[in-house]
């Protein structure tokens, strides 16, 4: 199964994490499940990449963490996007859309 995964483009993990956390604050484990579910198993972000990314974003002040109870009554660290994280996400999304549009255009050239 992992062999079928599409490798992540460099720098896109931050974007993915921010986008998902903006939709709904959640913990690390839940985040891996959601990425798998939403991308229909195309992207499989393992813990080894996810946690460093989370800590980096937290360190940059784009997300913040708080201990909370999960639905199953387990203590978990829940991440949410900060105001500056939202601004960052908006600008990154714009950059990404422009970039992907340009890339698609190039790939359409035959």
């Amino acid at each position: 199964m992992p062999g079928a995964n599409t490798p992540l483009l460099q720098g896109t993990l931050d974007l993915i994490v921010l986008q998902l956390l903006q939709a709904e604050p959640t913990n690390g484990y839940d985040l891996t499940l959601r990425i798998q579910a939403i991308t229909k198993d195309v992207l499989n972000v393992n813990a080894g990449s996810l946690y460093p990314a989370l800590y980096r974003l937290e360190q940059r002040g784009l997300i913040r963490a708080a201990w909370d109870e999960t639905a199953s009554g387990r203590r978990a660290k829940v991440y949410s996007v900060t105001a500056s994280g939202r601004r960052h996400l908006a600008s990154q999304r714009e950059t990404w859309e422009r970039f992907s549009g340009a890339l698609s255009a190039i790939l359409r050239v035959t």
């Binding site: 484990y29 813990a47 080894g48 800590y55 387990r74 203590r75």
Partner: protein, 907 residues
């Protein structure tokens, strides 16, 4: 593609506002400070992640065991992951610094002796250096004590170039000259002036209690210009309050402290100054001594108009260009620079000089403006030796710092060599070279910082000592001085830490681990021998120069030849600015009156020259002798004076009543005669006066005295000659039959009764005068002597540590030799001789350097080398050899004494 994206990311992240930066800083701080808690959080978070994975897999039907394994596989290596996560959080370098520090501390704890030695050496060096630097800096850059530093506060100094060609001396200004400066409102916001005099102060309430004090007669704006408010009382009256009202004075804090026991009731009290009643209207702030600090701390400030009454002068002195008695200070207008003021003042001085015949030569009288500093009351005289001397005095502290620096560097190099094995082990275990260098650097910096902290304590003590010894110096802790000392400390640590660190890590690992390679061993011993030689060679000239310095000071102290009758001679001084015929008459009357008192042997009226340095040319006396200049102090020796003082005339005669100054008869010292004419008879020889204030233009030698007995001594006078008389204020010298001090009250009382208009300021025995001048000299010398002793101490410690270290490094070799059957005694002797050889090479090199150094000092001071140099050199050599011997002998003995097996295992 990735790069492109990365760039785009970076660009947009650029617009972070202040809030975001603050947030980031807070987060960074948290990650640094709460490292442990965050680590715990991280472990818990990852643990919970794993558990959730496991329970999900179990829910899908896996067994608990295989679910855990699968989850673990999916999650990856927990430790590696946590490391990556920590990296992502940033601030990792702090951890490694902490590690370095911890390691360094452990290392120091393992080698306590050398660590303590290095810290103490450096601390003493830093401390002593900073103190000296602070003192010198305070002296040249701080205003006198009690006056705030302010760029607009300046001195106006009168300059006199008429005395000796090419030299500038200080001169006082006349009141009209002062008024001209004060009128320059576009340059000076205010100009204050003062006149200094010695006074007899009577602080007794019912019966007389006389003190010798200094009076300053000041313009009404004096305190305002200096920016000083009275500590107590209203202070001197403002301008416009003139004669007629009772006289008032502000007293110095020291006077208030010592003679009025800090009583606030002192305001309104009346004291007597030269018998004139004066009401105290203020106490000056602590330490404030006025714009000039020399002289006693017992001071009083009075309005300028009081001068005529208290000093028995004439009020018309204020109107005359001829009576110059004022020093000046001023506040510049806001936008005026010192240079601009200087130009104005020079122009005025040149113009105001025109009216007085004394300054007939162009440019003879001038003036300048200088920022108010403690030591610039008199203008620089423009003599090159003084500049060199000043440079030297700045160099000495640096030299002292150099000793511990070389010591510490040598020790560090030694230690680094000793640690090569440890470093090699760490390198072979995969430590990065950079990391090792950083480790060694951290240790060096740690060492320097510890030394700097201890140095602070040394500085604190040093400054306390200095402040107590020199009340006339405003000691300020200068940030630049501190930055300098601490910068040097850190720099020392870095410089001396880096070189051995680089050296140690550059070596081939295998060679060191084996330590058998002959090349390495011999290179090591060569390096260490080189270090010892270098250290001894370096230390020696420094010690020698210190020794010369101390010797000079001690020589000054010793060279105070006094009269054999110094405790039987009273020096009686009167307070007068100029000698008027009436005063002379009174003095003659007093002389006659004193002669009739019981117990009095001789009373002599003696004039002292004001300016009394004369340059003589001995040319034309003997055929073929080149002209040479001699400089000595001229003193008057009225008939009977030499006999009274007990100065033996060894050739020729002393002065008779018939001798006149104009005839040019001169009595010189034996040394001077020998210097000029050798063994030939000096009587009848002629000396031409080139410069000076004597009335004679040519002198004839009539007598030669033994100058080891100088009568009234003055440490600053190197050689002196006597003439029949001089123009100048006179005083009385009274020789009594028994001890003179009990007679003093009688003399005072008689003088007060006979000549009340002529205030007696002091009646002291010569012995007491000499003792006090010796005390002053000793106070000034204590710094130099202390420095010399510290330098000696530092060098001895350093030398011992390094030599001992070099020997103990060879414990293994000693072990091998004893194991193979060598006689321990012989081994010790062999090491001892080898150590001695190294020390002797160092000594020989050092001696050559020392000769050069002493030459350089002598050259810069313009003086012949001091006597006793050979003695100092011998002392230094003995000391160095002794320290080196002990340092070689003790560790060699110890090494030879231990079990060969232990010795072999030692490394």
């Amino acid at each position: 593609m990735g790069t492109f994206f990365g760039c785009a990311l970076g660009d947009s992240a650029g617009d972070v506002n202040l809030m975001e930066s603050l947030t980031r800083f807070r987060l960074w701080l948290r990650s640094v400070l709460l490292r442990r808690r965050m680590d715990r959080d991280m472990r818990e978070e990852m643990g919970s992640h794993l558990e959730q994975s496991v329970s999900r897999l179990v829910a899908r039907g896996m067994t608990a065991e295989s679910a855990r394994r699968a989850a673990g596989r999916e999650f990856g290596n927990l430790d590696v992951l946590q490391e990556q996560a920590r990296d992502a959080r940033g601030g990792r370098w702090i951890e490694s610094v902490v590690q370095d520090l911890r390691f360094g501390m452990r290392h120091f704890a393992r080698t306590p002796l050398s660590t303590v030695t290095m810290v103490v050496l450096l601390a003493l060096g830093i401390g002593f250096n900073t103190v000296l630097f602070t003192v010198i800096y305070s002296f040249v850059s701080m205003p006198p004590p009690g006056i705030a530093r302010d760029a607009s506060l300046v001195r106006i100094r009168g300059l006199d170039r008429s005395l000796v060609a090419g030299r500038t001396y200080a001169r006082n200004a006349s009141y009209p000259e002062y008024l001209e400066y004060a009128a320059q409102r576009s340059v000076f916001a205010a100009v204050a002036a003062w006149s200094a005099s010695e006074v007899a102060l009577d602080v007794g309430e019912t019966e007389a209690q006389l003190l010798s004090a200094a009076a300053r007669y000041v313009t009404p704006n004096y305190f305002e210009v200096l920016g000083v408010r009275p500590h107590l009382g209203p202070g001197l009256p403002a301008a416009g309050v003139g004669d007629g009202s009772p006289h008032v004075a502000v007293i110095s804090h020291a006077l208030w402290r010592r003679h009025f026991s800090r009583s606030p009731d002192v305001i309104g009290r009346t004291v007597k100054l030269n018998e004139v009643p004066v009401t105290i209207v203020g106490v000056a702030p602590p330490r404030f001594l006025g714009a000039t600090t020399w002289g006693t701390e017992h001071r009083l400030w009075l309005p300028l108009y009081a001068r005529a009454a208290v000093q028995r002068g004439s009020a018309s002195a204020l109107a005359s260009h001829d009576s110059a008695f004022l020093g000046m200070a001023a506040r510049l207008q806001p936008d005026v620079s010192v240079e601009q003021a200087n130009a104005v003042v020079q122009a005025i001085a040149a113009r105001s000089a025109l009216g007085t015949p004394r300054w007939s030569a162009p440019d003879a009288a001038s003036a300048d403006v200088a920022p108010m500093r403690a030591d610039n009351h008199t203008p620089p005289s423009g003599e090159p030796p003084q500049i060199a001397g000043r440079v030297m005095s700045l160099f000495i502290p640096l030299l002292i710092l150099l000793i511990p620096c070389t010591n510490v560097s040598a020790l560090l190099v030694g230690l680094a060599i000793a640690r090569r094995r440890e470093i090699a082990v760490r390198l072979s275990l995969g430590a990065a070279r950079r990391r090792l260098v950083r480790q060694l650097l951290t240790e060096s910096v740690l060492l320097s910082l510890a030394a700097a902290a201890l140095g602070l304590f040394v500085i604190w003590i040093g400054l306390k000592v200095f402040a107590a010894r020199f009340p006339s110096l405003a000691l300020a802790l200068h940030p630049p001085a501190f930055a300098f000392a601490f910068g040097i400390a850190i720099l020392t640590g870095l410089l001396f830490g880096v070189s051995p660190a680089l050296h140690a890590t550059r070596l081939a690992v295998a060679d060191i681990l084996k330590d058998a390679a002959v090349a390495v061993a011999s290179a090591r011993s060569r390096l260490q021998s080189g270090l010892v030689i270098g250290l001894i060679a370096m230390t020696q000239p420094l010690l020698l120069m210190m020794g010369v310095f101390v010797l000079e000071v001690l020589g000054d102290l010793r060279a105070q030849p006094s009269s054999p009758f110094s405790d039987r001679i009273l020096d009686v001084r009167f307070n007068r600015d100029r000698s008027t015929p009436a005063d002379e008459e009174s003095l003659m009357r007093l002389q006659a009156r004193f002669s009739g008192l019981p117990g009095i042997e001789t009373v002599m009226l003696r004039r002292t020259g004001g300016w009394a340095e004369v340059t003589l040319s001995a040319a034309g006396n003997t055929a073929g002798e080149a002209a040479r200049s001699l400089s000595f102090s001229l003193e008057s020796a009225p008939p009977g004076y030499l006999e009274m003082m007990g100065i033996p005339v060894v050739r020729g005669r002393s002065f008779h009543a018939a001798d006149r100054e104009e005839e040019g008869g001169i009595v010189i010292g034996r040394d001077l005669a020998r210097r000029v004419w050798g063994t030939a008879d000096p009587i009848g020889r002629r000396l031409a006066r080139v410069a000076g204030t004597s009335r004679a233009t040519e002198f004839v030698v009539i007598g030669v005295v033994d100058e080891t007995i100088a009568g009234e001594s003055d440490a600053n006078i190197q050689s002196r000659a006597y003439v029949a008389d001089l123009a100048g204020p006179s005083r009385l010298l009274i020789r009594t039959r028994g001890p003179a001090s009990p007679v003093a009250p009688l003399i005072r009382a008689t003088a007060a009764a006979e000549a009340p208009q002529l205030p007696l300021t002091s009646a002291t025995t010569l012995a007491a005068l000499e003792a006090s001048s010796r005390r002053v000299l000793l106070a000034a010398a204590s710094g130099a002597i202390g420095g010399g002793v510290i330098a000696l101490f530092l060098s001895a410690i350093g030398l011992y540590a390094i030599v001992a270290f070099a020997v103990s490094q060879r414990t293994r070799e000693i072990g091998i030799r004893t194991a193979m059957g060598a006689d321990p005694q012989r081994v010790v002797r062999m090491f001892f001789l080898r150590g001695l050889r190294v020390s002797l090479i160092g000594l020989a090199t050092g001696l050559a350097l020392s000769v050069l150094a002493v030459r350089a000092v002598a050259l810069s001071e313009g003086e012949p080398p001091v006597r006793g140099l050979a003695l100092i050199a011998a002392l230094v050599v003995t000391l160095v050899v002794a320290v080196a011997c002990v340092a070689t002998w003790v560790p060699a003995r110890r090494a030879a004494g231990i079990d060969p097996l232990n010795a072999l295992r030692a490394e």
